[in-house]
């Protein structure tokens, strides 16, 4: 009689096609803190603002999935789905990690779909233009909860998929390519900064203050989708270290970086020209200033473009950095993934405390 509790995903015959495969036959999975903390990040991200309302006057309001009718029901359904996964994972079953990744992935895709729907809704709203900027679009934007949830669910998802392909490793260290790490940092900064203010119109002294974020510009939705696909593709390069995947990711990132750079230069140049042309600033009741978000976007786009173009040189992708699977903290030795998980948990704790205090 077969074992009714046997893990369906734990077959040792899974074919791994990664050349760096250093596997041992193992039907279970190593318990680690990182997937658990990533799942918690997904749920915490779902309670952060997904949609931001920025009416004139600088009074922001954020909405998340819990504000939608039926939203709390969905969250609890996913908690009920994730809990057995967590128990199975802690029992050392691969299927537990898969179930946890599905729960996190559903939250991530909900965040993505909400962002796409937001784009559709704002395109329906009647436009009200001021100095060539659609002020209607400046009033509605995506909150910081979306990139956090999407990123955490993507990393958790890739960890789960990798666990199917590859059995538990017993290597003491592994080599991580530098190119994806260098590309992912400016890409994530670009995606997050796209929703922050690039320009600020009006004066703090008057009630009329309008922030112009990157997502209010024409074609920004497509650019953002491209940026997130590029993020996913660079994460794939960490798993499939092949020239073809590098070239695909670099091409996509070069387009995203190039377009973002042109956007930010045009907005910066336009903003400066507008300040120069605006006679109202003399009275002090109206002004236009460039926000730090625009400079961060400009620098990130430039760095991303540089890294993407450098990736086309074959020797660049061969450069790796050695990461030990365990680290010594005083007299104790801890696994690197557990340390990363503990840091993420600490960040969640700090965020929750700060949110309740402020």
């Amino acid at each position: 009689m077969s074992d009714p509790f046997a893990d369906p995903f734990a077959s040792s015959s899974a074919t791994s096609f990664t050349p760096q495969n250093v596997s041992v036959v193992n039907n279970g999975i190593r318990r680690s803190l990182l997937p658990v903390s990533l799942l918690l990040v997904c749920f915490t991200g779902a309670t952060m603002p997904w949609v931001l309302l920025r009416p004139f006057g600088d009074n922001r309001r954020g909405f998340n999935v819990t504000d939608v009718p039926g939203g709390m029901g969905i969250i609890w359904t996913l908690v009920v789905l994730a809990l057995p996964g967590l128990i199975l994972f802690l029992a050392g079953k691969k299927s537990g990690l898969i179930v946890m990744a599905i729960a996190g992935g559903v939250l991530g895709w909900m965040a993505t779909i909400s962002g796409l729907l937001l784009g559709v809704i704002t395109s329906i709203l009647p436009s009200f233009e001021l100095a060539g900027i659609d002020m209607t679009k400046t009033q509605v934007g995506q909150g910081q909860g979306v990139p956090i949830t999407v990123l955490a669910s993507l990393i958790l998802g890739f960890i789960a998929v990798q666990s199917i392909q590859r059995d538990s490793e017993n290597a003491t260290s592994f080599r991580v390519p530098i190119a994806p790490l260098l590309a992912l940092t400016p890409l994530i900064l670009l995606a997050v900064n796209h929703h922050t203010e690039w320009l600020k119109l009006g004066s703090e002294e008057t009630s009329f203050v309008a922030g112009v974020p990157g997502d209010s510009l024409y074609g920004s939705g497509l650019l953002l989708i491209g940026a997130w696909i590029a993020v996913g593709t660079w994460i794939i390069t960490l798993v499939l270290r092949q020239r073809l995947v590098y070239l695909f990711a670099a091409s996509l990132s070069a387009v995203v970086g190039g377009v973002s750079l042109v956007y930010s230069i045009l907005v910066w140049f336009g903003g400066k020209t507008l300040v120069w042309l605006m006679p109202n600033s003399v009275e002090g009741w109206s002004s236009l200033r460039v926000a730090p978000g625009l400079y961060i976007t400009m620098a990130s786009a430039l760095l991303l473009l540089g890294v993407s173009l450098a990736t086309f040189i074959p020797s660049t992708t061969d450069r790796t950095v050695k990461v030990n699977t365990s680290a010594t903290l005083g007299t104790r030795t801890a696994r690197t993934s557990d340390i990363a998980g503990a840091v993420v948990l600490l960040l969640i704790l700090v965020y929750v405390v700060m949110r309740n205090v402020m």
């Binding site: 995903f9 096609f17 009718p69 039926g70 993507l154 890739f158 593709t233 794939i236 073809l244």
Partner: protein
């Protein structure tokens, strides 16, 4: 009542999303001889990125097999049925 209907709508949308990408991923995976477990899990968890992952994995696997001069690995071995089903 609105909450219940919205909940049902949420569940339906997410089910269609997950199952849809699972189908696409499994189809591409079967064409490129990617192990079924990998293609199904990638499609459900990673959605469109999972499809991209399966596509790239399959293409790389096929190319490596062609360079090595061996037939591409198949995920399942079919046993030919020779008997009469109406016997």
């Amino acid at each position: 009542m609105t909450g219940v209907l919205a909940y049902i709508a949420f569940v339906m949308i997410l089910t269609v999303w997950c199952l849809g990408w699972l189908g696409v991923s499994a189809f591409i995976g079967s064409l490129l001889d990617v192990p079924a477990k990998v293609s199904v899990a990638s499609g459900v968890i990673l959605g469109p990125l999972g499809v991209l992952f399966v596509l790239l994995s399959g293409v790389i696997q096929k190319r490596q097999a062609r360079i090595a001069g061996r037939p591409a690995k198949t995920s399942a071995t079919a046993t030919p049925f020779t008997g009469d089903p109406f016997a």
